[in-house]
């Protein structure tokens, strides 16, 4: 208690110097928190776009379909299983798709695309895909030769809504079939590559060409809560014992790595800031020790042991940094909370954001454990910064120190 009181009062002996250090800690933490929250927000946006627009949470395929991509490698045709899936606790929606590799051609361009045959209603319930349309209409009404293509692909094909394009693909008997389609709508999913390589048509219409009846290649499931995925995954394995059931992170492991490493990036960023601050703290505490040489010598002369002298210097360093840290965390939290509510408009960088698959308005998100980890990092930095000044203090000879 006595040491705590002394340490706290000691940091206020040179108010300007201490306030400068506290302000540095405060600004460092605010910058670190905001950067961390921004990265988290960007990653959340990317993740949500990816889940919502592309893969959903869980997909079911024929065990060989992902590797071989053959038309006949379907999950089945029994739509009762779709109802069974929808009935699983925690499942928000589910849809089935036909997938086939195809050549797409206009008068200006020919290229490869992944053609999806969808059931528009259930697809929209699962991926809310219609919100991505930037021109034209979603696939609705009776099964026709309407097609949705990405904006990037439309640019390559030099087509617009109402244009006619030709798709060629192999049917289940490996015959090459072609069909003419009319562009109904143009979408922008947030992922340029996806938009270049993907097109959507009515499943019923596509299946007719492929000759696979009501079969489907992919069943996509959207969960209410990502925390419940394991339970839904187990249930799906029971419903589809002979199929490949995969979670989003198995379908796209790179995304999981990116999300995990983004958290790491935030901590590395904070640690770099803290290393800079550590030198400031170390310098301040060294000055404090040199200014108080006689006092520290006196303390050792009258019987304060080395452990307590070390503790005194460490406590001063900790108080100095934690005072700035507490205010910094509070200010950082308020700033992040404001932007989390109102969003940070990055439309000035819309091209870059689009390439990244991130919305132009980013909502910074704070991982609940982040402030606590930050406080721990500050505490650790303070302790490390205290070591050298404390060693300097301990190396003082009481006799020499008192004479000064």
């Amino acid at each position: 208690m006595q040491l705590i009181k002394m340490a706290w009062r000691n940091i206020w002996r040179n108010k300007v110097r201490s306030l400068a250090v506290m302000t540095a800690v405060l600004l460092g933490l605010v910058a670190g928190m905001y950067a961390g929250a921004l990265v988290e927000g960007i990653m959340q946006s990317r993740f949500e776009n990816f889940i919502d627009n592309q893969v959903s949470h869980i997909q079911v395929h024929h065990p060989d379909f992902i590797r071989e991509n053959e038309v006949f490698q379907t999950v089945g045709s029994d739509l009762r299983t779709l109802e069974e899936v929808r009935a699983i606790s925690g499942v928000t929606s589910a849809t089935v798709r036909t997938r086939v590799q195809s050549m797409i051609a206009s008068a200006s361009y020919t290229g490869g695309v992944e053609l999806y045959g969808i059931r528009p209603k259930s697809e929209n319930q699962t991926t809310n895909f219609s919100r991505n349309l930037v021109e034209g209409d979603y696939l609705e009404g009776e099964s026709t030769n309407g097609i949705l293509i990405g904006g990037a692909l439309a640019e390559k094909l030099k087509v617009g809504v109402g244009s006619r394009i030709v798709l060629s693909y192999q049917d289940k008997d490996n015959n090459l079939v072609s069909g003419a389609f009319i562009v109904r709508g143009i979408f922008k999913s947030g992922f340029t590559r996806y938009d270049e390589m993907t097109a959507f048509v009515f499943q019923e219409y596509l299946n007719e060409y492929l000759g696979i009846g009501q079969d489907f290649h992919e069943l996509a499931v959207l969960a209410e809560d990502i925390e419940n995925l394991d339970e839904i995954y187990s249930e799906l394995q029971k419903v589809f014992p002979n199929s490949s059931v995969r979670k989003w992170n198995e379908i796209e492991p790179a995304l999981e790595i990116m999300i995990t490493s983004s958290g790491l990036f935030s901590y590395i960023f904070i640690i770099l800031i803290m290393i800079g601050l550590a030198f400031g703290l170390l310098n301040t505490m060294l000055m404090a020790v040199f200014e108080r040489t006689r006092e520290i010598g006196m303390l050792m002369a009258i019987g304060m042991n080395r452990r307590k002298v070390f503790l005194l210097i460490a406590l001063e360093t900790i108080f100095l940094s934690l005072s700035g840290a507490i205010v910094g965390l509070l200010v950082g939290y308020i700033i992040v909370a404001w932007f989390a509510k109102h969003g940070l408009d990055l439309s000035a960088f819309s091209d870059v954001m689009y390439e990244l698959g991130v919305d132009t308005v980013v909502y910074p998100a704070l991982n609940p454990s982040f402030p606590f980890v930050l406080a721990l990092i500050v505490f650790g930095t303070a302790l490390l910064s205290a070591i050298y000044p404390a060693i300097k203090a301990l190396s003082l000879s009481p006799i020499e120190a008192i004479r000064k």
């Binding site: 002394m6 009258i302 019987g303 008192i402």
Partner: protein, 227 residues
């Protein structure tokens, strides 16, 4: 009964090159309740002798017994503990802790010793009142005069009931009135409570009040006068 006893004590600097005998073969005893001054010209070894007796420095040769214990063979950490429990220090520059009040400064050593709070409060408050600082308990050192600060330093040294008090030039920075007040106070503590004081000083005002005057010249014992 001697509270301090040195035997064939040497403190030699530059032993390997040109030896300087800061303390040269001193064998001396100091008894309890003595009010002793160690005097001598600058460089005579007064402060070095007090540092050796106070366990702040190690001798080159010889033995030092304080309160029945050999302190010359103790490790540094043992000496720190020993100083805390057995010796009170009063320094020339007062050396109070600027961020603590008069009371907190005076109570500091007892708190380091881990004495109960109630005992500390009673003892420290009583002593501060005894030295005329009962109304300055909550004043910081910067709010006290030099004489008042030195009185707080004496109370700090006294509070833990040490076996003796070492005072290195305690009046050097005080004006005449403050010096007399301080000396009267210490003399009274010596006479009334039997506190043993050992001073190093040039100050004639201190020497005049001493019951024993030890004179050093060139690190060696020159005279030992009991009054």
């Amino acid at each position: 009964m001697p509270v301090i006893e040195t035997q064939d004590l040497f403190k030699i600097y530059n032993e390997e090159t040109v030896p300087v005998y800061a303390v040269n073969n001193i064998s001396i005893q100091f008894d309890t309740k003595e009010f002793t001054c160690v005097i001598g010209p600058s460089g005579s070894g007064k402060t070095t002798l007090l540092n050796l007796i106070g366990g702040l420095d190690s001798p080159s040769k010889g033995t030092i017994n304080v309160a029945g214990q050999r302190i010359d063979t103790m490790s540094e950490s043992e000496r720190i503990r020993f100083r805390l429990e057995h010796i009170g220090f009063v320094f020339q520059h007062y050396n109070l802790i600027p961020v603590l009040t008069a009371y907190e400064n005076a109570a500091f050593i007892m708190q380091l010793q881990g004495r109960p709070e109630e005992e500390t409060r009673e003892r420290v408050t009583g002593l501060l009142e005894q030295v005329g600082l009962g109304n300055r308990l909550h004043a910081r050192p910067s709010e006290l005069s030099g004489g008042e600060q030195q009185r707080v330093a004496v109370v700090r040294a006294l509070a833990s009931k040490p076996d003796f008090i070492l005072a290195d030039e305690p009046t050097a920075n005080l004006d005449t009135k403050a010096a007399f007040n301080l000396l009267d106070m210490m003399k009274q503590l010596n006479e009334d409570e039997g506190i043993t004081f050992l001073f190093s000083t040039h100050d004639q005002r201190v020497i005049d009040r001493a019951s024993r005057v030890v004179t050093l010249v060139d690190g060696a014992l020159h005279s030992d006068e009991r009054r």
